[in-house]
């Protein structure tokens, strides 16, 4: 039952930084969580090996963002730019850590970004990263690193998007009684700020099962000073679920991909949804 998972404490949080708006939001959320859980925060900055390789390819030209002029790569310039980015990322990490009085460390790695991030996050209890990074297409779904983390990375992983504050977000947990959902609820209870509403969306196969699940949960969940609200939805497709989640309009969505709905459907949901997601 959920309190069993309470012991699984998050002591170390890794956050992927690349100076994009999503990454800044990730840093904010990660730092807030670190403060709440009294965890250490590690910033990971990966120098993209692909970019560095391009500099040595004679056929590659850089197209400037605001002038659309193209120019041959200058390796030393590129190195310097990456250093500057890393420095900026580190400074923002230091600043926020100082403000919230948390312990921090910063690592600069070089390689293929998604792989390096996932590898580096292996040492941490939680990976925090932006839903999309410095992708050229400004796509709506998950970015390449996030996608990789979703598919291959360890759990738990927190996907952040800008516009939500980790301090005030209400939490919505998907619960269907499976082990994965129990873990999700356990972590949600761990990371919820005092006084913040916890929404539990119970996905029962039948009405009776849902009622039973709620009864069982209400016995064990005792959140002083915070309200728990139960919602019921018959076990259904990812699309209906998504509509319902939007309706509840909760901040952070906590779920597991080891639930009664299929892993693919959960991943599809994560790809489409506009809210920060903590995947357990």
């Amino acid at each position: 039952m959920p309190e069993r998972h309470k012991s699984k404490l998050i002591r170390h949080i890794a956050v992927a930084l690349d100076c994009s708006p999503h990454s800044r939001a990730s840093l904010g959320a990660a730092a807030e969580l670190a403060r709440l859980l009294n965890a250490e925060l590690t910033g990971i900055f990966v120098e993209d090996i692909n970019v560095l390789r391009m500099a040595d390819l004679p056929c590659c030209h850089e197209i400037r963002m605001y002038t659309s002029e193209s120019e041959k790569f200058d390796a030393s310039n590129l190195e310097r730019s990456l250093k500057v980015q890393a420095k900026t990322a580190e400074e923002s990490l230091q600043r926020i850590a100082e403000d919230l009085m948390i312990k921090q460390s910063f690592r600069v790695l070089r390689g293929i970004v998604p792989e390096e991030v996932i590898a580096a996050a292996g040492e941490a209890d939680l990976l925090v990263l932006g839903r999309s990074g410095r992708s050229p297409t400004c796509r709506k779904g998950l970015g390449s690193t996030a996608r990789k983390a979703l598919e291959k990375g360890k759990r738990p992983v927190l996907f952040i998007r800008p516009g939500f504050s980790a301090k005030e977000w209400p939490v919505l947990v998907l619960y269907d009684g499976s082990e994965g959902s129990q873990e999700a609820l356990g972590i949600a209870l761990n990371i919820i700020n005092p006084g913040i509403r916890l929404n539990v969306l119970i996905l029962g196969e039948t009405h009776e099962e849902s009622a039973e699940l709620e009864r069982a949960l209400s016995e064990i969940i005792a959140l002083p000073g915070s309200a728990v609200e139960y919602h019921h939805l018959p076990l259904t497709s990812g699309k209906t679920l998504m509509r319902f989640i939007r309706m509840v309009d909760s901040g952070l969505l906590v779920l597991s991909d080891r639930m009664k709905i299929s892993r693919e459907e959960v991943h599809e949901l994560i790809n489409e949804i506009d809210y920060p997601v903590l995947l357990v």
Binding site: D48, L57, C59, H61, M65, F73, T137, C138
Partner: protein
């Protein structure tokens, strides 16, 4: 010639009989103060107020303290409430040209309600606009537009990315842009591997990359256009949303003010401006720095200075006005008259807007009456010119003085002028009126009516009752003790004394008011509930005593014979004249000695005062007139073979006036005839070439001056004063003088001719011409003729003997 008889005590003082009054104390009088004796002025006021044409403004002239303002206020108090209430005025922002604020005219009382409505509107906008813009519908629409742009961009780049992927080329974000690179298994081909490729392959890849790059560049070139389009769409959406939120609110206002076309038009422009600048209502907190220091932050200021633009600056609010406004401007400085544009210091610079336009007295009195003290108006720099300009152009144009004279160089405003319809009433002394009419051509154009206030009231019962009412109103106004009728009578007598005419009463209300207050003080000190005649007398005496230091000093010097004044013996060529001293507004009389000496000469009278330039022109004129008299009387048959000198003894500060000319003539007659003058007399009065004695001023003080000296030395019953007969009406003498006359210790002689005077002074008749053309033997004139003849012969003899010597 008959010797004039002494004046009776009744002629010396006209008592006011308390029994004339029907009231017991002033508490019985509570009716309105009716000013009497000012019919001429009232006629002028009524004419000026009634006539509607330009330039018929009023100048009320008369000495200060005669109650001009009170009288006019009283008049207007009756007539102004009958007139229609003038419009309200306010200044509003000119959204097209903020430097030229617009003036709005509203029916009386509407300006404030419009201002309040506008405040409420802005308050409402702070709720309505944010809620419209935070509605889900708006958020969704805005998000749609923005996402449309994002999608458009993403789609185009995504297509390109797909196209590249087919060719095994990746689109990669670099620190400062994009780049295409050949990829293999999701990674960029390592340079060494790339170099291992055949040249043909490399060229092919390079070509593909160049194509993709060109395609990418053309997409990027379109991004600003898409951004612009997105911005346009959002702007249109915003405008629609704002317009939907704002229109009903303003429509509500507009129906209320639909009859006022100007306001309707203003509201229309206002609506467009609010819709255009809706975003200012979305800001949660205003920038506190914009608050002007020291200004109380109103509702608008709390919301930030930018909301000033929707304020209504009410310049004239006639909501509480009944009839036409009557305004008295106490400090008629230029900016207090025509208004001012104030500035506030903001971050070291001076800024202003239409809310800092301050109205002037002309605004407040527009449609009614404005009273200004003329002297104060002229003392204020440029104020008179500004007033004239407003009256001439019939509009109030507010100009910052500092701006006008380039004293400050900062942003200023040119508010729309407001039409002016006003009657200006200037209050001032007569001198000012005469100077202005003489030297300022505009003045007679703009102030065509003069209300000439009398200095005096008639001394009849009506005038006395008017006095009683004035006293009563002062008592009520200042919460003093009431006066019994004897006290009122005493004040009436004093009013007569101030006016120097026993048949008149002074219209100098200020003096009366002062006396009333002083008498009240002494009554209070004596713990009396009602002020009595004694208190009034006490106040008069005390005031006299307070200002008597110099008088006492002069009398003391006289008693010690430092100043030589003889009041007992008889002297040839010496006489006591009477002079008036006026230090600090308090005048008193004192005798002065005039002496005359004669010698052989050619007929000239030497005025020593004039020779040493200590005599004024009127005094010199008096001496020349008496020379004329002497010549006509004694030198028709023989030359006037004397040279006479006249002097005011012990005068060190110069003299003027001709009131001593009769005394000088008596001294000369005495010197010529050799008959001594009794020094127990003092003389005042001017004389003409026929020897008639003419009226002079200050007769009461002069008599009292001599009386005081004689009294100090001891009255013998011989002492007396010769005054011109025409001054008898001016007599309002002190009680002790009247008592002395009653007891036969002092006498006052009314003299109308020098012959009468010389007879009293010498005890010898002046002498009239008989049929033979000679004066009666033993008369003054006969002795004078004999003396002159003797002198003429001496000269003749001397001249012939010297002629003989020459031959």
């Amino acid at each position: 010639m008959a010797r004039p008889s002494k004046l009776t005590p009744e002629q010396l003082y006209r008592t006011c009989n308390p029994q004339e009054f029907s009231f017991n104390t002033t508490a019985d009088l509570d009716g309105p103060v009716t000013a009497t004796g000012q019919e001429r002025a009232f006629e002028a006021i009524s004419f000026s107020m009634g006539i509607k044409h330009d330039g018929f403004n009023l100048f009320a002239l008369g000495p200060n303290g005669t109650g001009k303002q009170t009288a006019i206020m009283h008049f207007l108090g009756n007539s102004a409430p009958q007139s229609p209430v003038p419009s309200d005025w306010c200044y509003v922002n000119n959204f097209e040209k903020p430097r030229h604020p617009k003036a709005l005219r509203l029916p009386a009382g509407k300006a404030c309600s419009l201002s309040r409505a506008m405040e409420q509107l802005v308050e409402a906008l702070f709720t309505v606009i944010p809620s419209a813009f935070s509605s889900e519908e708006y958020q969704a629409q805005e998000k749609n537009i923005r996402e449309e742009f994002q999608e458009q961009q993403a789609d185009e780049i995504g297509e390109l990315e797909k196209r590249a992927a087919k060719e095994h080329i990746a689109l990669i974000k670099t620190p400062s842009g994009f780049a295409f690179a050949p990829e293999k298994d999701g990674e960029v081909v390592k340079p060494e591997e790339f170099m291992l490729l055949k040249k043909k392959e490399r060229d092919s890849i390079e070509k593909k990359i160049i194509d993709l790059k060109t395609a990418m560049q053309s997409i990027m070139a379109q991004i600003p256009k898409w951004q612009r389009e997105t911005q346009e769409k959002i702007k249109k959406l915003n405008s629609n949303i704002a317009s939907f939120a704002v229109k009903p609110l303003i429509a509500e206002l507009r129906t209320e003010y639909t009859a006022i076309e100007e306001v309707s038009r203003y509201l229309e422009i206002l609506e467009a401006d609010i819709i255009e600048n809706f975003d200012q209502f979305l800001e949660k907190e205003s920038d506190q720095r914009e608050l002007p220091p020291g200004m109380s932050p109103g509702k608008f200021l709390q919301k930030g200075a930018s909301f000033n633009r929707y304020r209504i600056n009410v310049i004239v609010d006639n909501s509480a006005t009944r009839g036409a406004p009557v305004v008295y401007e106490d400090k008629p400085a230029c900016q207090n008259l025509v208004g001012d544009i104030e500035h506030i210091a903001q971050m070291g610079t001076l800024v202003t807007d239409f809310t800092l336009i301050k109205p002037g007295a002309l605004h407040r009195a527009n449609g009614g009456y404005l009273l200004i003290d003329a002297r104060r108006l002229l003392a204020e720099p440029l104020a008179y010119e500004a007033l004239k300009k407003a009256l001439r152009t019939r509009q109030i144009r507010i100009e910052s003085l500092a701006q006008l004279y380039s004293l400050v160089s900062t942003v200023s405003l040119e508010p729309e002028p407001i039409p002016l319809d006003i009657k200006v009433i200037l209050l001032g002394e007569r001198n000012l009126y005469y100077i202005l009419s003489l030297h300022d051509p505009d003045f007679s154009e703009l102030f065509k009516v003069a209300a000439d206030f009398e200095d005096e009231l008639p001394g009849d019962l009506e005038g006395k009752l008017a006095y009683a009412h004035i006293i009563s109103s002062i008592v009520y106004k200042d919460n003093l003790h009431h006066f019994d009728r004897a006290a009122v009578a005493r004040i009436v007598e004093h009013g007569s004394r101030i006016s120097e005419d026993s048949t008149k009463l002074s219209a100098h209300i200020q003096s009366i008011s002062d006396l009333v207050h002083e008498a009240d003080y002494y009554a209070t000190a004596a713990t009396r509930e009602i002020v009595q005649a004694d208190d009034v007398q006490h106040a008069i005496d005390a005031k006299l005593f307070r200002s008597s230091r110099i008088r006492e000093k002069i009398r003391e010097a006289t008693l010690r014979n430092s100043i030589l004044i003889d009041t007992d013996s008889e002297k040839i060529g010496q006489i006591n004249a009477l002079a008036i001293y006026s230090p600090g507004g308090q005048s008193f009389g004192h005798p002065g000695r005039i002496t005359a000496r004669v010698r052989l000469g050619k007929g000239e009278v030497i005025d020593i005062e004039r020779e040493v330039e200590m005599g004024g022109p009127i005094h010199s004129k008096g001496v020349m007139i008496l020379s004329g008299f002497l010549g006509a009387r004694f030198a028709t048959d023989q030359p006037l073979s004397l040279s006479a000198s006249l002097v005011f003894e012990q005068s060190y500060s110069g003299i003027d006036g001709d009131s001593a000319s009769s005394a000088e003539l008596y001294a000369l007659l005495s010197a010529i005839s050799g008959v001594p003058i009794r020094q127990c007399f003092a003389v005042t009065g001017s004389v003409n070439q026929f020897g008639q004695v003419q009226a002079i001023g200050g007769v009461n003080e002069k008599i009292e001056g001599f009386f005081d000296l004689c009294k100090a030395r001891g009255l013998t019953g011989n002492h007396g004063v010769l005054i011109p007969a025409s001054n008898v009406e001016n007599l309002m003498l002190r009680n002790d003088v009247v008592t002395a006359v009653q007891e036969g210790l002092f006498a006052i002689f009314p003299v109308s001719d020098v012959d009468e005077g010389i007879e009293i002074l010498t005890g010898i008749p002046a002498g009239e011409l008989d049929k033979t053309g000679l004066y009666h033997t033993g008369s003054i004139n006969a002795m004078a003729v004999a003396r002159l003849k003797e002198m003429a012969e001496k000269i003749k003899k001397f001249t012939s003997s010297s002629d003989d010597d020459n031959q």
